[in-house]
Amino acid sequence: MTAVSRRRFLVLSASATALAASAVGGLGWLRGSAPNVDGLRVLSDQQYRTFAAIARTHIPQGGAFAEGAVDFDLARMFDGYLADQPSADQRDAGMAIHLVEFGPLLFDHGAVTFSNLTPEQQLAHWSGWGTAGKQMRREVFWSFSRFLGLTFYDHEAVWPHLNYAGPSFARLSSRPAGNP
């Protein structure tokens, strides 16, 4: 259920698009430089950094169990996913990531971009995308959170914390039929 953006992101409100464009062009220095990431297929280093921050915020390390999204490099997995999507979807997803990066400036009147917020600020800001008045922001939130939830909880290192023993065929296929 990786409902990643479609052409929908091209239908952003005019103000948000204009703000994003100005942010990317004129205010890009605010986000700072991103470290070089080898082997990316679609995402830029900046986009990778932002998506990694979203992932880290959505599924942080600690809490109920130690592992978090950062342990499995879900941003690289997203890059791999996008590489096999139509080019229009790649563009739309890239734009969505940019919007999140500049979200604090665009929607919270802040002076720091998403990647540069503290973890607590990132969580507060990202949570706001899920309940935002602008539908476009909710779409970004649901699309990214579905991808992150699907891929993170499909990881075998997480299963012991869920008391899930993993794919059942190998464990159960020798059992008499009809006894789940």
């Binding site: 259920m1 990786t2 409902a3 990643v4 479609r6 052409r7 929908r8 915020t57 959505h58 599924i59 942080p60 600690g62 809490g63 109920a64 169990f65 996913y81 096999d84 969580l123 990202w126 949570s127 899920g130 309940t131 539908q135 909710r138 779409e139 939130f141 649901w142 699309s143 959170s145 579905r146 991808f147 939830g149 699907l150 891929t151 993170f152 909880y153 499909d154 997480v158 299963w159 914390h161 869920l162 008391n163 899930y164 794919p167 059942s168 065929f169 190998a170 159960l172 296929s173 059992r175 039929a177 009809g178 006894n179 789940p180």
Partner: protein, 512 residues
């Protein structure tokens, strides 16, 4: 047995392919049609855009690769306002490979409704009974046994019975089920008697040629006796186009799920103004309960019990009301529904083994429309106020059943999640607006868009399934229904496929 041709194979480029009947789409409609025609001695080719997935080596029970490979748009298709995740199969065998194996035939009152209000004069319950019987036989339909009902389903049942409501253990199409629990991403044990396991094997045995990783792009010459269908081959994972070839056929049967069917016909410049209209998505709302004891809902048959107290069958209005059915899946898909970011979402998922879950199934009016923009389908569908009211009642009923069964908390996956700690907090459900992209909704039973009817001004196909304005282009899938057919569409579609294919054979003077 004829082999299955994998069009993703290097150098695959067939020439001069011809057949009498070309079937596009291999699910409940197309798979059944191909098999019936092949067994009648017809020369049949069956096309499927997805791959062939059988057995544990291919059906791995892992969410990420399976949603990627078994579902249309890698599981990511939504309606236009992105409120509803539209799930349908993209695999040899279609939706039957990835559904919950529920067998729910069309109720007699629905046939009567269609007779009375949609001009389906020959489709009486009596006339359709033989086709229903064939569908049930294809599916090896049988009642889920008591010992197969897992804790997740028992919890819903316990709540329903405590409240004195009506419910039922469901019919299914599994044989020798091992309770693997991964039905929504395919059964590696092959227990589901779905189109892949039944009709397609029989079609192959009867000489049908089956092509996978083959996407039909366009139907040409639709009013002539020799139609040409342009086919795009895809790479091994179905992501990227590779080659093209063409197939000449006397008759073309389109069975690509309502969205795919309408898109193909539109891209072929076929169909009247009714094509794409009156689409039902039958949206479903997930509902989760945190139980005091372990549930281990990921083991066993996911969907075995239904609350049916509030479902209404009426020959004047069709199927309405709602039902609630237990459901579960593998951790990834559950995780994708948990919207809460940060520690809250992790805390809920860490209790996965204590979670019971259900879907509320709320039949809708066919208010949607499938359009095609730049070749790509778009499903324009807006939830009605009446549907929202029934959906709130349905979620309330599910929550009440869970609390009656001892739930500590009920969660509706919205943003933010609606957390209900007792019956006293049920009013929180009334605040659900169902505004676009505020709650996780699922459509697993798309219907309509190419409905049958006696009159060209109000239908897209005639009562034989032939697309108005064509000669020999038929539709044979869930898109033919004028309104929602049942709470689950596998059995209705197979029933209709038998009926329409029978009509097709009678039309060309062949014995049934």
């Amino acid at each position: 047995m004829t082999e299955i041709f994998d069009c993703s194979a290097d150098g695959f480029a067939p020439h001069d392919l011809k057949c009498e009947y070309l079937v596009i789409g291999s699910g409940c409609g197309g798979g059944t049609a191909a098999r019936v025609l092949a067994e009648a001695g017809k020369d049949v080719i069956l096309l499927e855009e997805g791959g062939d997935f059988l057995g544990p080596a291919r059906l791995t029970q892992r969410d990420t690769p399976m949603y990627d490979q078994l579902y249309v748009d890698r599981g990511g298709r939504t309606n236009k306002d992105r409120t509803i995740n539209i799930l349908s199969g993209r695999v040899l065998g279609g939706g039957g490979v990835i559904n919950a194996s529920d067998v729910v035939p069309i109720h007699d009152s629905t046939w009567e409704f269609w007779q009375k209000h949609h001009g389906w004069k020959d489709f009486s319950p009596t006339a359709m009974a033989p086709y229903k019987a064939k569908a049930l036989l294809d599916l090896s339909a049988n009642r889920i046994e008591e010992k197969q009902i897992n804790r997740n389903n028992q919890i819903l049942r316990q709540g329903v019975e405590k409240l004195g409501w009506r419910g039922e253990v469901m019919l299914h199409n599994r044989l020798n089920c091992q309770g693997l629990g991964s039905c929504l991403i395919g059964c590696p044990a092959g227990a589901k008697q779905n189109p892949r396991m039944v009709s397609i094997n029989k079609a192959l045995a009867a000489g049908a040629r089956v092509f996978v990783r083959a996407r039909a792009l366009q139907i040409r010459d639709a009013t002539t006796d020799k139609k040409r269908v342009e086919v795009q081959t895809l790479d091994a994972k179905g992501y990227h186009p590779t080659n093209r070839f063409a197939i000449d056929a006397r008759t073309v049967i389109v069975a690509a799920n309502p969205v795919g069917t309408v898109a193909l016909l539109r891209n072929s410049h076929l169909g009247n103004r009714q094509l794409g209209q009156r689409v039902s998505l039958q949206p479903q709302v997930p509902c989760v309960a945190l139980m005091p004891d372990r549930v281990n809902a990921f083991d066993g048959i996911p969907q075995a019990y239904a609350l049916t107290e509030f479902e209404r069958h009426d020959a004047e209005v069709g199927l309405t009301g709602f039902r609630v059915e237990s459901i579960f899946g593998t951790p990834g898909v559950l995780g994708s529904l948990v919207s809460a970011p940060g520690a809250q979402g992790k805390a809920l998922m860490a209790q996965l083994d204590h979670i019971a879950a259900a879907l509320v199934l709320v039949p809708d009016q066919p208010v949607g429309e499938i359009k095609v923009n730049s070749g790509r389908p778009e499903v324009d569908y807006t939830l009605t106020a009446e549907w929202k009211t029934r959906a709130r009642q349905a979620v309330r009923s599910a929550a009440r059943a869970y609390f009656a069964a001892g739930a500590k908390m009920v969660v509706v996956p919205a943003a933010p999640p609606v957390l209900i700690h007792s019956e006293a907090e049920l009013a929180k459900i009334d605040a659900l607006t169902f505004d676009p992209v505020t709650i996780s909704l699922i459509s697993a039973h798309q219907q309509g868009g190419a409905r049958l009817g006696p009159d060209e001004s109000t239908s897209a196909c005639d009562l034989n399934g032939q697309v108005w304005g064509t000669r020999g282009v038929f539709v044979c899938d869930g898109s033919v229904f004028p309104s929602t057919s049942s709470s689950h569409t596998m059995t209705p579609i197979i029933t209709m496929a038998h009926a329409l294919t029978d009509r097709l054979l009678q039309r060309v003077g062949q014995p049934n």
